[in-house]
Structures are given as structure tokens and as C-alpha cells.
Amino acid sequence: MSFPFSTVTTPSPRITAEDRWKSLRIVSRGDVVYRIVLTAVALVLPAVLVALTLELVVNAWPAIKAFGPGFFTHSTWDPVASRFGALPLIVGTLYSSLVAMLIAVPLALGVAIFLTEFAPRPLRRPVATLVELLAAIPSVIYGLWGIFVLLPLLRDMIWPVVGPALSWLPIFQGVFYGPSVLAGGIILAIMVLPYVAAVSREVLLAVPPAQREAALALGATRWEAVWTVILPYGRTGIAGAVMLGLGRAVGETMAVTMVIGNRHEISASLIQPGYTIAAAIANEFAEASSAMHLSALFYVGLVLFLVTVTVNALARLLVWRVARGSAVGSAAI
């Protein structure tokens, strides 16, 4: 067939590979604009983070200058005398989070293993959804439930039964009023469990099936396969999941302040009231009427921020290493 308009063939110019690449790169001005706009938008997040850090440091500076590192070793929080020591807050935060993790991690791992190994297939989706639902419940509703259900349950039904047997232990000394580090820890455990469970589940799912099959082929029972092969394989990621949960626990505010007793004091006993950094800020920020009190709250807020940044950074690094940069852990959102 002949093409009526191309009887003359012109020799084609030499098109190099380079030229072809260049022509694919930036085709129109629209692309340049698009990229600039999107980059600017993307810079908003780092800008917010920088602004946040700056504002915390600047406002905490008077307290940092006045108290220095002694802020973390003194226990007196005295607004009248303008002397502030944050040790009870830090201890309270760590103690309640520790209790929460001790309760939540085994349970969450159990749930994750259940969902990936032992649950009958039709049950997996519904149970996973139900566990995720726990993460959807707002903190204030946990607090409401904590005040009116958990505290009376602990104080009036559980403690009178187990108390006499346990009260010789230093961690159970004292009178149990209700509001306590234990109550705070339990509520935190329930709130943190879905996050640890969801990320652990993703981590376990990412373990290559070959590992599991190899263990089973060697004669392991299903549980032995989990315990000796799968869990160790995923241990980095699970560590990351635990760190993520810890990050949530230290920052939780509303539910904690409603059940922990709000007392600036250190006590080894779980059944005594305590205080956390987040709860103290929630209660005192809007009313600190001396500049130093406000600055002390910023100081302690800065500490909380740095702790959560570190814990979260660690968690992300651990989880990313396992899941190779995919958005595993966004499931924990």
C-alpha cells in the first residue's frame, strides 16, 4: 500500500538515547509548577514540627534556666513558692505506662497470633475488626467508663477479695481509694492493645510462609512453629509494635486524668494515686497564673514531646526494617 502523503522519505536525524530521556523528563511548565506546589505543601509538615519544637523550647526556657536538670530529680511541685520538680510526673508516666505494657503486650501478641495462626478463617476478619474498634473509642469515653465502671469494680468488688492476700507486697500497700496508678494502667492497656495487636499482626503476616512450612515439615506442632520460628523472625517488628504502643501510652491524657487521682507524689504502690505529665498539663495549663508555673508546664511538655519522638522514631525504624518501607504501621493509625 502506498501512503499518498509520504512519497518522499526524509532521512531521520540521529536520535540518541540521551535525547529520548531528556524528552521524557519535564515536558511542560505545568510539571514544574506542579512539583513546586506539591513540594511546598509537603514542607508544611516539617515546618509544623519545627514550629512545635521551637515554641516548646522557647516557652520552657525560663524554667530550664531556673531549675536545670534538677527539675527531674526534685519531687516538690509548689506553685506558691514557685518551686517545681517533675520527678513525680515522670515516675507516674513511666509507671502507669509500664503497667499498661505488661498487661497489653502479652494479650496483644496473643491476639495477633490468634488472628494469623489459630483462628478459623471465617472468624479472622470479624475478630480483627472488633479489636480495631477498640482503637476507635475516644479517650474521654474510656475515662467515663473508667470512673463509673472500672473504679467501683476494682474498689468494691475485686480489691476486697484479692487485697488481703496481696497487701503485704510493697506494690500493693496502702488504702485503695479507687483512683490509682493501677486503674490508669488498666485503662491504658485497653487503649494501647489494638495498636500493638494490629502492627504485630502485620509483622507476623510479613513472615515468609516458607519459614512456617519448614518448621512444620520438621515436625513442629503449630504452636512450636510460632514460638520457635515465626516469633523470633518477627521480633524486630514486634519490638517496634511494642514501642509504638508505649509511645501512645505515655501521651494519653483524658482517660488517665479521670482515673489516676491527680496527685503529685511518688509511690511504689500501684493502688495509690499518681499523676502523669499529660494529665498535669491538662489540669494546670489553663490556670497557671504565674509565668514560672506556665514555663514549668512547657518544660515538662517538652520532655514528654522528646520522649514520644524518640520512642516513635525507634518504633518506626524497627517496623520499617521488617516491612521494608511499606506503610505497615499505618494500620496502627
Binding site: 509548577v33 473509642i137 469515653i141 506442632t221 501521651g251
Partner: protein, 278 residues
Amino acid sequence: MRISRRLVGAFMTGATYTAALLAILPLAAIFGMLVAKGAGSIDWAFFTRSSVPLGETGGGFAHAIAGTLIIVGLACAIGVPVGVGIGIYLAEFGAGRLGWVVRFVADILNGTPSIVIGIFAWTWLVKPMGTFSALAGGAALSVILMPIVARTTEEMVRLVPNSLREAALALGYPRWRTSLQIVARTAGAGIVTGVLVAMARVAGETAPLLFTALGNQYFSTRLTGPMAALPLQIYVYAVGPYEEWRRQAWAGALVLILLVLSLGIAARWVTRGKRAGG
């Protein structure tokens, strides 16, 4: 030997079943409580009337419900465009160093305690403006919303098959049009899901609103003044001693959880067709 190993296996299987049960137990307990204590107090007055003074009856949560809708709406107005933009950036151009930094920052902000974000909004908006405002509350919530929307958008945009992009490029579309019209639109349902999930999360936040929106006994739609919000109102009423207040707190909690749940269900419904159709 065989038997003891089997026993251990059976025991641990049972243990994981127990763990799952224990995990779901609080869920049932909380929901049961909310329905039992709250359902009876939800009536027409609850949705149409605002606070009344102590000692009077017949008050409602109209101002708090409206306040939450407005403040969450504000958070979305600020946070969704920015978040979606960041997500598209990360998916399209995010392979380099800046992309890594932005992703890292998003995860950090995601894990930042919401009370710290509340302080941030107070310092930058309430103090300079000289007033508590719904705007400051919405801005605080948007800082929580942005990273969530950004990450889910990135995921969704990444899922769009490369063949679609290449087809558009082959047809002569410039990159920006490919990105906006083809890729983003295909990922649209997923992006909406991410937005709805983020909305469900911020609708329940109380701490950032404590020193930004402050609260209001009146029904207000003024963005530059204090505004009531559902979680705030629940908190104030829950710790009070009045039976009337506590009754309303339970009812408010039930309404809040239903709001959060419906956003979650809407999120799944939006992608339901997508998942089946593929």
C-alpha cells in the same frame, strides 16, 4: 513426649483464644454501658437544646454536637487539602531525601500526644488572637489529621497500577495531569476512606480542645469565639456531681461513639465496590 508437646500446643492455642476474648471483653462492656446508660436519655430535646443552668432540667447537647461538626469541618478544610497534597507528593516524588524526611515527620506528628498539639495551637493562635476560638480548635485538630491523611493518601496513590500512568504518559499527558486527573481520581475512593478514618479519630479528641475551643454554653457558629464540642462537654459533665449532668454525659458519649462508628462504616462502604470490582 509427644503428648506433652501436644498438650502444650493445645494449651497455648486456648491461651490465644482467651487473649482474643479478653481483648474484646472491654469493647462489649463499654458499648453495653453506653447503650444501657445513654440510650434512655437521648430524646428530641437532647439534639435541639443547649445547656441550662444548674438545677434546671431539660437541657441538651445541641451546642456540643453542632460545635463538633463545625470544628471537625474546619479541621478537614485545613487538613485535607494539605494532607492529600503531601500524600501525592510522597507517592509521586517522594523517593528522595525530602520524601524520607516528610514521611518520618508525619509518623512523628502522628505519635505526638494531642495535649502537646493543644499547647502548640494555644501558643500560635489563642494567645496572639486574644481569644479562644473554634478556629484554634480546628487548627489543632488539623495538625492531627494531616499526617494520617498524608500517609493513607500516599498508600492509595501508590496502589494505582503503573500501567495506568504509562498509558496516560504515552497518550501525551504531561506528568501533572497524569498525577491529578488519572492517578488521584483512581485513588479517590481510597483517599476518601483515609479522610473519613482521620475524621473519626479527631472527632473524639478532647485534649487539644481544652485550651483552644474552651467550650460554650450557647449554641454558636462563630468561628472566632469559644465553641462547645461533644468530647469537651462529656468530660465536664462526667466529672461533675450532678445526676442530671452525668445522665447527659452518657447520652453524649453514645452519640459520639455512633458518630465515630458511622464515619468508620462510611469509610468501608466507600471502598466496598472497589475491593469487589478490583
